[in-house]
């Protein structure tokens, strides 16, 4: 879509667009180019010179069992976060949609966790499950279950998943609630007259009508769990124990900043760039569909 009426001149619009273009070039494109460039080299041990290795960094990475493990960890983590944030959100949205009075109050309360930063959510959940002072871990101990996410990789994964999904419930709830409110009333009533009870109506009519929203949220939540959960992982587990919660973004950070392995970190950045690119394309393809829906 284009405007028919436009203003004349080319200097003014160039000045107007300049701030954004300059910032994008300096802080987005130049660093991304650097990442691609550096991924083709390895620095010598003293950091004095760079040796060209072609795709050597990538070959090394893809054959590195820790990196491959990090891919699997990221996949498991993002699937679990997506499910753990969408299912409760849908359940709460269905409840809120059934209520005439009070749904506004519930909605206000449910928005809260969205505003809590992932890193702060990490601290709250760490406090509850802390092996020394945590209330939940203490009560679990009373029940005979010895909770220790510092040593047990599965428990560590469970904790970072729950802490990451917690704030997202608010977000997903808002989208599901809006979608439920838009379900045509006549369809529901027709089904009700035919004698379909609530859950039958839900699974045969409402859920299929929600599918555009559901698919949209699937993509958005996967993107979230890939890129925005760094704070949760860093505060709760720092990627451990034994790298069992080291997702890809965390590995770029730990190899690049903690390990100072520039070549590998840059190659990882490039792989992540490809992942983001794919996710963005999926998101946009879908958004186009949604517009026509």
């Amino acid at each position: 879509m284009e405007k028919r009426v436009t203003f004349r001149g080319w200097l003014l619009p160039l000045c107007l667009i300049a701030p954004q273009v300059i910032i994008s070039a300096v802080f987005f494109f130049y660093p991304a180019g650097q990442a691609i460039w550096q991924s083709l080299f390895i620095p010598d041990p003293f950091g004095l010179s760079m040796q060209y290795v072609g795709l050597g960094n990538f070959e090394f990475l893809l054959s590195d069992k820790f990196y491959r493990a990090s891919f699997v960890t990221t996949a498991i983590f993002s699937i679990l976060v997506t499910l753990a944030s969408m299912i409760p959100a849908l359940f709460l949205a269905v409840l809120a949609d059934r209520l005439i009075k009070g749904s506004g109050v519930y909605r206000t309360l449910l928005i809260w966790p969205y505003a809590v930063a992932p890193a702060v959510a990490g601290v709250l959940w760490l406090f509850m499950f802390n092996t020394r002072v945590g209330v939940v871990s203490w009560y679990l101990g009373q029940l005979g279950y010895d909770w220790n996410h510092v040593l047990n990789g599965g428990e560590a994964m469970g904790l970072v998943v729950v802490a990451s999904a917690w704030g997202r419930i608010s977000y997903n709830f808002l989208f599901f609630f809006a979608a439920l409110q838009a379900v045509p009333r006549s369809v529901i009533e027709a089904a009700a007259i035919d004698g379909a009870h609530f859950w039958r109506r839900f699974f045969t009519i409402v859920l299929p009508l929600l599918s555009p929203t559901t698919f949209f949220l699937l993509v958005v939540n996967v993107v979230y769990s890939f890129f925005e959960t760094f704070g949760v992982i860093h505060t709760i587990t720092s990627g451990g124990p034994q790298q069992s919660t080291t997702i890809l973004v965390y590995k770029v950070f730990s190899d690049g900043f903690v390990g100072q392995d520039l070549g590998s970190s840059s190659a990882q950045s490039v792989i992540l760039l490809i992942v983001v690119g794919l996710l963005t394309v999926i998101q946009f393809k879908f958004v186009e569909k949604r517009v026509h829906y």
Partner: protein
Amino acid sequence: MARERHGMVEKRGAGLWLTHVLMIAGILVIFFPIWLAFVASTVTQPEIVRPPMPLWPGDQFFENYRAALFSGVNVPVATMLLNSLVMAIGIAVGKIIISLLSAFAIVYFRFPGRTFFFWMIFLTLMLPVEVRIVPTYEVVAGFGMLNSYSGLIFPLIASATATFLFRQFFLTIPDELAEAARVDGARPMRFFWDIVVPMSRTNVAALFVILFIYGWNQYLWPLLITTDPEMNTIVMGIKQMFPSGDDVADWPVIMATSILAMIPPVIVVVSMQKLFIRGLVDSEK
């Protein structure tokens, strides 16, 4: 319409009560972590380190919050709050200004490179800071912007989302308005200030809510570039309050800080709820 459906199809009595009960139970579960943090911020350290800690607030509220705000662990939390405020407002206002300007240029002018710049802005969507950590750090270090507000703000300020949102909105402004402005001999910037900006008020406000929270909740970037505790933001500073090694963390102060870290964004979201939901839905389109 919505009401009618409930009238016809909805269960009454027991079913309705059950719905309320489940809803309240869900909310209590979701609020439990926040409640526990609040309780921990009102009791003494010995009450926490000898589990189980109480589940009802104690009488140390003022002591703990005073200790956090004015002493903190590495740096007073009041300083971190100020840093977060500057960063969040800087990012939100900066993104809105540069996006308004570039969207205006793209929609209301034909100039060389227009399509190129449009795609360039689009591509920044694919370059979140998380994937260009090390080189962006090097650029910022090269400019001498480590441990500075400009270093916290500028690398996060270019936003394709906001530009597209404004572009989308500008396209809905009737052509007659621009036509009339042109006939009157109004300069483009006059049109921008007198017509476009006032008409975009609601969009600006909705976007501000979303971007303020985005800026406030940043973690990785401040962690990388603020090595000086004086420049820490509150969200990243909490983790720095944990002692390394085997020392026991100062839980009451840390939990008071966590509560302080969530108050500003929660106030923004809850008080501007309608705008927030609108901004959320718009920015995902």
